[in-house]
């Protein structure tokens, strides 16, 4: 036996342990250490942070969303544009977007995290549950620490929690719902239908913007048509499709299907195609995912009410910047009616998109819809607008 084998196993073991520990610590450190580097390349972390050029930034404006969706990508593009336009970098501020996992707890935890980190200057949040008091409390806690908090796209319940935030930027979802309802009604009438049932599909039925849209739609489409059901899919895309299938089976003579959130549009279009019932139903949807636009081009969607998340992004940066810098002039410019009812809302415009060709909605002979601040566009024109800003969806 060699001499070194007679070394008591203990020191050999202890040295081995040290090497092991050292190795693990080194790997762990190598993993975590780079996270501290603020010199992120332009490609940036996968979360889609809107990275500004490589100067180390001292503060952040954070846009907190609900989940993954091309809608938020368009918004992100708006954030980038806004950061450029209003030159946030020169004030040492980075604009980033944070995604949530679709739960209230996720938003609450994130708001708490923002509160415990000292480099957050402003937060724009799309609230996932309008009546959730815990989210409201965290928003207020943040505001108490001096962080500027506004809501964008998804607001809190304004009757109860108005004081949670000074301002809201986004679509007036009731108006949006009404717009879609009117469009649906006009389409149905032009097809000779004055009564029938319809089903509305959304991610959550108790989310503020979803509810507002659905109520607006119901109001505008009129009592001649019956709202048979509101189906929620909790942002699960395969569930969204299953809901459409279930609706078609349970109510065989539906006249219309209404998609409330962006991904409901392609779900409805594909399933009606799959079931071969396209001719029997009128399909109207919200928001313009790239795939939804293709469906409309192929004739599977009849009308689309499109928000302007790009604009929301730009305006969110503008407002946060103004609030942070104490720029009262810009704030008044954006919100001329402060103090009055609805004076805390900045509506980003709506568009009604219809397929190219003859349609009761657009064209020179179309009757006006009776709603302000709405742009009616045929699909090709809308696609041009998208390309102009480098977007694929809205």
């Amino acid at each position: 036996m060699r001499r070194d084998a007679l070394i008591p196993q203990r020191t050999a073991a202890a040295t081995r342990r040290a090497v092991l520990f050292g190795g693990i610590a080194a790997i762990a450190a190598a993993t975590l250490l780079p996270g501290c580097s603020t010199q992120k390349p332009a490609a940036g972390p996968a979360a889609g942070g809107a990275a500004t050029p490589a100067t180390p930034a001292a503060k952040r404006f954070i846009f907190l969303t609900n989940g993954d969706d091309p809608f938020w990508d368009a918004c992100n593009a708006g954030l980038v544009e806004g950061a450029k336009r209003f030159d946030t970098a020169s004030r040492g501020i980075r604009v980033v977007m944070e995604k949530n996992n679709g739960t209230a707890q996720g938003q609450i935890e994130k708001l708490r995290q923002f509160g415990s980190q000292s480099d957050v200057a402003g937060v724009a949040i799309s609230v996932i549950q309008a009546e959730n008091a815990a989210i409201v409390e965290e928003m207020k806690n943040l505001a108490a620490k001096g962080v500027k908090v506004i809501t964008v796209d998804g607001d809190v319940n304004r009757d109860k929690f108005r004081d949670a935030r000074p301002f809201y930027i986004g679509t007036d979802n009731i108006v949006g719902g009404r717009l879609l309802g009117l469009a649906a009604r006009r389409l149905l009438e032009s097809r000779g239908k004055s009564s029938g049932g319809y089903v509305q599909f959304a991610g959550f039925t108790d989310n503020d913007n979803a509810r507002a849209r659905m109520n607006g739609f119901k109001e505008a489409v009129g009592d001649g048509f019956k709202e048979v059901d509101r189906m929620a899919d909790e942002m699960d895309l395969s569930k969204a499709r299953d809901n459409v299938r279930t609706a078609l089976v349970n109510h065989p003579d539906l006249t219309a299907l209404v998609g409330i959130w962006a991904y409901n549009a392609p779900a409805i279009a594909e399933v009606t195609q799959e079931r071969g019932v396209r001719d029997r139903v009128t399909i109207v949807t919200f928001d313009a995912q790239a795939s939804a636009l293709n469906h409309m081009a192929d004739g599977r969607i009849d009308a689309m009410v499109v928000q302007n998340p790009f604009e929301m992004g730009i305006q969110a940066v503008r407002l946060l910047q103004a609030l942070h810098a104490g720029d009262a002039a810009t704030v008044t410019e954006m919100f001329p009616n402060q103090g009055k009812a609805d004076g805390d809302i900045f509506t980003t415009g709506l568009r009604l998109i219809h397929p190219d060709g003859k349609t009761p909605l657009g064209g020179p002979d179309a009757r006006p819809l009776g709603i302000e601040n709405v742009e009616v566009m045929p699909l090709p024109a809308f696609r041009e607008w998208l390309t102009k800003y480098g977007l694929t969806s809205s």
Binding site: Q9, A12, A13, R16, R17, V19, L20, F21, G22, G23, A26, I27, A28, A29, A30, T31, L32, L33, P34, G35, C36, S37, T38, K40, P41, P45, A46, A47, G48, G49, R60, I62, M97, E98, K99, N101, G102, T103, A104, Q105, G106, I108, R112, Q113, G115, S116, Q117, S118, D119, Q129, E131, N132, A133, A134, I135, E137, T205, D206, A232, E234
Partner: protein, 403 residues
């Protein structure tokens, strides 16, 4: 035959693995303080401490339940769904007793709150009984029985929520808002869940180490057949274990509802049972049963939450994308580290033969990928190479010592 190992003790001193956990927690905190660009732990310690304490308490409450079940030789996969069911039962009970107040966001009064909480805990007891019945009378393996309740209870909760709201409120709803000042007080005061957790931990520790029932639990988990033949009524001991597991999950559910001010059965607590099991295992529980301590689980819960917070502090934006990966890596490292003593003593090799050779590039790729995604390709490459070098050295060292 493995070499004999040291026996557990019921004294106040921690076992070596637990001291190692304490060291790991302190190391993680130190690392975060330094590496975080804001040095939030240094400048604003209280907020982070409060958040970590709250999250640890919430996790720890039902991690204690998981520990007892694991020590008894079973497993409970349904804790997350029990949380959802418990929250829903509490909210719907209050809704049924005081519908107008609940809908109107007004206080419902202490009686309704008490009824809601009692109903939740009772539900926990019933679910624990169901588990025990399935496992002892129907003879389902615990994995299967609790897998069934994992999916079943959540669905039950959703159905309960929708039917109750359909009956008592203007519209059918998938969640119930809870705004009573009692729950708000629980949400606002971190010390309440922390105190409840502390009391529960001490009580569980007492039972496990200093009562006949605790000894029977250990015996059952260590050798079920022998326990029965030693005159232990194993079915009753299991009943206690599973009821304790489900009732702690119920209690946690009440805190979840308070924390979120809403009972949302579809999503609440989803996947959280795995966090509880991870905390128990990192703290030294053996899934084979018979081994585990309360201090270990408490430390394991603290460790997990500290690591998750560290990830958020260091990778500021988009941290949750990496959270799962890092927690997974850390759990593996923690459990491996706990065995380092055994590895060194028993002459066991971490990188043996062809398997070890293949493991080196796999681990290096993993480390390199994580670093590349967070800090850019060059850092990633550097990390990967560093890993290859370190692991290669380890392998050479092992072959030399064994030869």
């Amino acid at each position: 035959m493995p070499a004999p190992h040291a026996s557990p003790r019921g004294s106040f001193l921690l076992r070596p693995g637990e001291w190692a956990l304490v060291a790991a927690i302190l190391l993680a905190i130190a690392l975060t303080t330094i590496v975080d660009a804001n040095h939030s732990y240094w400048f604003r310690p209280l907020e982070s401490l409060r958040d970590i304490a709250r999250n640890t308490a919430l996790l720890g409450i039902f991690a204690l339940g998981a520990t007892v079940v694991i020590i008894a030789g079973g497993i409970d996969l349904s804790a997350g769904s029990m949380i959802a069911l418990s929250g829903t039962i509490c909210a719907t009970t209050m809704l049924a007793l005081k519908p107008a107040e609940m809908i109107g966001f007004k206080p419902v009064g202490p009686a309704a709150v008490a009824a809601g909480c009692a109903a939740s805990l009772l539900a926990g007891f019933l679910v624990g009984t169901l588990h025990t019945w399935l496992i002892t009378a129907v003879r389902l393996p615990p994995f299967i029985a609790t897998l069934a309740t994992l999916v079943g209870l959540r669905s039950l909760a959703r159905a309960l929520c929708e039917s109750t709201t359909a009956a008592l409120t203007p519209t059918k709803n998938a969640l119930v808002n809870v705004s009573d000042p009692f729950f708000k007080a629980v949400r606002d005061n971190v010390w309440i869940p922390v105190a409840v957790f502390a009391v529960l931990a001490v009580a569980t520790w007492l039972v496990l180490t200093r009562t006949v029932l605790g000894r029977h639990l250990q015996a059952l988990g260590g050798n079920e057949q022998a326990a029965r033949l030693a005159g232990i009524r194993t079915d009753n001991v299991k009943w206690f274990a599973y009821c304790f597991g489900a009732m702690t999950a119920s209690l946690a559910g009440l805190f979840y509802v308070a924390n979120e001010s809403v009972a949302q059965p579809a999503l609440q607590g989803r996947g959280h049972e795995l966090n509880a099991i991870a905390a128990a295992v990192v703290g030294g529980c053996s899934l084979a049963g018979g081994v585990g301590t309360v201090p270990g689980t408490v430390l394991g819960a603290i460790f997990l939450r500290v690591v998750i917070d560290a990830v958020s502090k260091i990778i500021k934006t988009g941290a949750d994308v990496y959270e799962g990966l890092i927690v997974g890596v850390v759990v593996v490292i923690a459990v491996t580290f706990a065995q380092v003593g055994q590895i060194a003593r028993g002459g066991r090799r971490l990188l043996p033969g062809a398997l070890g050779l293949c493991a080196i590039p796999t681990l290096a790729l993993l480390a390199g990928a994580i670093v590349a995604m967070t800090a850019g390709p060059r850092a990633g490459l550097a990390a990967g190479l560093a890993a290859v070098v370190l692991l290669g050295m380890l392998r050479l060292w092992e072959s030399r010592t064994a030869a």
